[in-house]
């Protein structure tokens, strides 16, 4: 659905995005993480045909970024929620949506249906005739998302959709994005919120001008330290550590009664580890998979890159 190959954008001497190569499949939610100035917004702007690329290739569906005729077609099949909501404050919520619906060439009936459906879904139907300036930040953010959906786009670009919202509104917006995910829409999500990315995204890319890492949240978390099995025992004795050592596995003792063991294939290795520990007289209380958090992965990758 979204393909880029060595996509690069420079502003004068400054490279905002360098050699970005990625693929986002249909119905996938792709999260883009990165520090401020990493090029996330520039990437979305290039993909939404708002700014040009310096070099490289990018395609949305079967249309080519950079081809002006294709850009008009791309704009019809994408929805964009920019980092600033950008609503007409003096117009009502309904009028804002109706305006965009017309520009997206929706029929009268489609506009009416879509506006009613989404405003009711997000609890804004009763305030549809109020000027947007009277809305809270969260209401405006929801309205901006509806605006991007008014023409039923195949692909949705969301640039920091929950930034500056309080936790309650963040959850409302996040739940709405999850609802869109269930509808199998392709979503490209720029976010600083690692928890949000982990909960919502099928795959995540970490950008710091260049694409530093890419994968599912699980793959990224495993990538930092590999996979680990954590075994909590009544007591970690020399007999137990000796038994684990004899399996040829690296381990560390943590918090006095926990063994954190490096494993490459836990489904195959864990039964043998359990048997060895029990045979060595260890009393197992819990066994869990331990991996780095997404935050740890993110911070390490970004700092390494810097």
């Amino acid at each position: 659905m979204i393909e880029t190959s060595n996509l690069t954008r420079k502003f004068g001497d400054v490279t905002a995005v360098e050699d970005l190569t990625l693929h986002v499949g249909e119905g996938e939610v792709f999260g883009f993480l990165g520090p401020n100035g990493a090029g996330k917004t520039t990437t979305i702007r290039m993909l939404a045909c708002l700014i040009s690329k310096t070099s490289g290739e990018a395609r949305i569906a079967d249309y080519e970024i950079g081809n002006s005729a294709d850009c008009q077609k791309i704009r019809k099949i994408i929805g964009l929620v920019p980092d600033n909501v950008g609503l007409y404050e003096d117009l009502s919520a309904y009028r804002n949506l109706d305006f965009y619906g017309r520009l997206y060439e929706c029929s009268d009936a489609q506009r009416r249906e879509q506006i009613e459906y989404f405003l009711k879904m997000l609890g804004l139907w009763d305030v549809r005739d109020r000027p947007v300036r009277t809305f809270s930040k969260g209401m405006k953010q929801k309205l901006a998302i509806v605006r991007a959906l008014i023409h039923d786009p195949q692909i949705l670009f969301l640039d920091e959709p929950t930034a500056n919202l309080d936790p309650e509104f963040q959850k409302t917006v996040r739940d709405f994005i999850l609802e869109l995910k269930r509808e199998k829409r392709t979503i490209f999500l720029n976010t600083h919120n690692l928890d949000e990315a982990q909960r919502i995204c099928d795959r995540i890319g970490i950008l710091n001008t260049k694409l530093v890492a890419e994968g599912t949240p699980e793959q990224l978390m495993e990538s930092l330290e590999g996979r680990k099995t954590q075994v909590q025992l009544q007591q970690v004795t020399p007999a137990v550590t000796g038994a684990v050592g004899r399996l040829g596995l690296r381990y560390v003792v943590s918090s006095g009664n926990r063994l954190v063991i490096d494993v490459s294939d836990p489904e195959k290795e864990n039964p043998g580890i359990m048997e060895a520990i029990v045979a060595a007289g260890g009393h197992i209380q819990f066994i869990t998979e331990k991996h780095a958090t997404l935050e740890e992965v993110y911070l390490k990758l970004v700092r390494d890159e810097q």
């Binding site: 702007r45 700014i51 019809k76 007409y88 965009y100 017309r102 520009l103």
Partner: protein, 251 residues
């Protein structure tokens, strides 16, 4: 270009500008000042003074020049009124952060610019016409008894209102919109936009010192020149409307 999209943008701008007090004031107060103030001046000058029949030809000749010059004030008004709306058109979208979602729609530069031009043109030209009608009615009321005939309407004012005023409104609107797309501050856009009034003021002064006579023929020549500039400015506005620059360089 889809004209209906330009109209959609213009209608949205009408709704937005309706809530902006400074736009309403400039569209209502300035035309009213001219259309009511000038007849009052004439009334104060000749309204109560007795006129002997021998003085009438000289008075008619003098009034003819004064009335033509006054009528040309509506051309200047047509140059002035669109500035407040036109200057805000693009820079206003940028300041309110609405430009990015607007540019993300399948709308061409030409459609956006035409919409902005219509949004500034229609209210301005309507205000000029309303002011001109009030002006002509009051002037006739003040002078018809003295002159023995109704001065307005006449061919000069017909050319001014039906040809020169719309073309000048378009000229000012286009100039303001171009300015609005090139600066990042609404006030700067208005100040630059106001430059368009200068050549019109020069023509007005030229009529006052009898360097130019505002005959229908001369007005048609002036209108033809403005028409050519209008066409050039619309091409220029499309050529100089750089979405990317507006999005990435303006803060």
């Amino acid at each position: 270009m889809k004209l209906w999209k330009a109209w959609v943008i213009a209608r949205k701008d009408f709704s937005t500008f309706r809530t902006k007090r400074y736009v309403i004031y400039s569209l209502v107060v300035v035309p009213l000042l001219i259309s009511i103030g000038l007849p009052i001046l004439i009334w104060l000058g000749i309204g109560n003074a007795p006129i002997r029949p021998s003085q009438l030809p000289a008075i008619i000749s003098g009034l003819n020049d004064v009335f033509n010059a006054f009528s040309f004030l509506f051309v200047m008004l047509a140059g002035f009124l669109p500035i407040s709306i036109g200057a805000y058109s693009i820079v206003g979208e940028k300041l309110e952060k609405t430009l990015e979602p607007l540019l993300a729609t399948p709308t061409t530069d030409g459609e956006i610019l035409l919409g902005k031009v219509i949004a500034a043109f229609l209210p301005s030209v309507s205000a000029v016409y309303a002011g001109a009608v009030i002006f002509m009615v009051l002037m006739d009321a003040v002078t018809s008894a003295k002159l023995g005939y109704v001065y307005f309407p006449n061919w000069t004012v017909a050319v001014i209102l039906l040809i020169t005023v719309p073309l000048t409104t378009i000229l000012s609107t286009e100039f303001s919109v171009i300015t609005s797309a090139r600066v990042s501050d609404a006030r700067a856009a208005q100040q630059f936009g106001a430059l368009i009034v200068l050549p019109l003021a020069a023509i007005y002064l030229a009529t006052e010192i009898a360097f130019v006579s505002l005959t229908p023929a001369n007005l048609l020549i002036i209108s033809a020149i403005i028409l050519v500039i209008d066409a050039l400015l619309f091409s220029l506005s499309r050529a100089t409307f750089r979405r990317e620059e507006i999005l990435t360089k303006w803060k």
